[in-house]
Amino acid sequence: MTSKNYSNFRATMAIAKASLRSTMRSPSAVVFTLAFPLIFIVVFANVGGAGVSVDVAVAKNSDTTNAVYQALKKNPMIRLVKGLSNEDITKNLAKGSLDASIELKPQQPMKPIGLTVQYSKASTKGEILKSTLNNIFYKIQSSVYEKINSFSGMKIPDVIDLKETTITGRKHLYIDFILPGQLGFSLLSTGVFGTAFVFLNLRQNLVIKRFFATPVKGYSIIGGEMLARIIFGLAGALIIILTGHYLFGFTLIHGFVTVLNMLVLSIIGLLIFMGFGFTVSGIAKNESSIPPLANIITLPQFLLSGTFFSTSAFPAWLRSLSDVLPLTHLNNAMRKVAFEGAGLGDVTHQLLILLLWGIAAYAVAIKIFKWE
């Protein structure tokens, strides 16, 4: 055993391997990196996928052979609820858990179709039913006019000449919005919580002190831990991306290349977030002081960085706040790469802001981080 043969690389890998093993057995790491983001994705992908739906109660004794009923049934936006008593309908309309109700009288030839529609002040979606009904009425009337035309030979001029076309394009699903946000959240949790807990734990239990009784260097310990967290974070990112793609139709424009670009962005994000984690581990006095400190960093970004909803819905003052946060820019870069097919060269604006955050995070971490 001579000092010449000592391999810092081997020591670094030994720490990375130990850390990776340890992390995979830690329930909280797996929950925050994978379970939470996947649960959010499943929940929101289903909410978003269904689109808008208007709940319309159909009163008892309604005539379901009625032409209006048949037309409503074909409309994907209208959900018809049958079998409720009149009292229940009134009660639910008042609460807003029903958007409207409709009673259809039996249809008789040459008589007007009898309809009673109730809307609810508690719901704004009644308007959708109203315009849907008007559209149906227009079509029924048109067919009646046509019949009259063919019998009488009298020409009623068209008032409107309608031509409708739909431009085919990429369908922007809600998953395309929610997945990059959840991926960012996963990276943020892994970076901040994972790093902070590990280093505090190693410091408090004198694990690091024991390490320093071996020839290992400090940078090997830091490097090995960071490597383990990057591998773990990337594995999580890959699972999230692939689950989103194959189960929920998450758009990956250039396929594999897009995935690679997203993974590179993930590494950049992780590096910055680990800088926050080192800082938290240095400030925290004990294990129970980590969650509040880490939440100060993660929660505002979770809510303000466009994780669940677009920041464009925010008022201007709030938007300027979210424009400062690193996760906002990571999320934006991810979305551009995944949905618009941008390369890393197209998101230099985001990368530059992330770089500034990285410099700031490590400048603070180096001052605050403690070995003992």
Binding site: M1, S3, I15, K17, A18, N205, V207, A213, T214, P215
Partner: protein
């Protein structure tokens, strides 16, 4: 006894601010012996050990370990010593075999985890976590980690504190085996019966000074020669002998 010194400490001083933890300590540890640093809490034993182990900076003085200077050859020293710290933990969520694997990477040596565990009779616990071990098993595992780099010297800081008499005797046996295998052992303890039983030579440390270095036998003879008498008549056995006789020698695992 013309023995060769493997550790030489000269005029070692360590100050923490105004507090003088170690105040001019000099001693030698001979190759192949079990050397005991004895003294009350706060006497400076752990500080002295940690400076020799290269874990702490000294204020002044000089130390050589196996021919290497503590200031210039830190890495060479680290490769030649094995260290057991008081109350040190191990990497969380790993089993014993994996921890040995980790340490062999840190020391840059190839060892078989099972062979290392066999040395301390823990092969059946290879898949267990450190935190699930009994007190005696924990100490034996700690000693196994000190042996990974096949060191010339190992340092054990209060290895038997908190152990029951069986586990303590079991650990003495292990430490003697290590000494007999050619490794020098430096140990601290609060238990004088342990030092008397185990150590080839002991140094008494108090208030940051060394107040005497000799074999346990010489110290006792010296005291007796000065006219010292125990208040209570010494019997041929003590209560610990009774305990061992009644509960058996074999060691209980938690």
């Amino acid at each position: 006894m013309a023995q060769q010194a493997i550790i030489t400490v000269k005029d070692l001083v360590k100050h923490y601010g105004d507090f003088k933890a170690v105040n001019g300590i000099s001693f030698e540890v001979f190759e192949g012996e079990i050397f005991g640093l004895l003294g009350p809490n706060g006497a400076g034993k752990t500080t002295t050990l940690e400076i020799i182990e290269t874990l702490r900076q000294k204020t002044s003085g000089s130390i050589t370990v196996d021919g290497f200077d503590i200031e210039r050859d830190t890495d060479s020293i680290k490769q030649r010593i094995g260290v057991q710290l008081q109350a040190a933990g191990y990497y969380p969520n790993l089993n014993l075999a994996e921890l040995i694997d980790l340490f062999s990477g840190l020391y840059g040596v190839q060892v078989s985890p099972m062979e290392m565990l066999e040395k301390v009779a823990l092969t059946d616990k290879a898949k267990a976590k450190y935190k699930d071990l009994s007190g005696g098993q924990k100490q034996r595992f700690s000693i196994a980690t000190t042996l990974i780099n096949n060191p010339r010297i190992i340092f054990l800081d209060e290895p038997t504190t908190g152990l029951d008499p069986q586990a303590r005797r079991n650990l003495w046996e292990l430490i003697r085996q290590i000494r007999d295998g050619g490794t020098t052992v430096v140990i601290t303890t609060h238990y004088m019966d342990e030092a008397e039983e185990l150590c080839d030579r002991v140094a008494f440390v108090d208030g940051g000074h060394i107040i005497g270095i000799d074999t346990p036998d010489h110290f006792i003879d010296e005291l007796v020669a000065s006219g010292f008498e125990r208040k209570k008549q010494v019997k041929a056995a003590n209560l610990e002998d009774v305990f061992i006789a009644k509960t058996g020698k074999e060691w209980r695992e938690g």
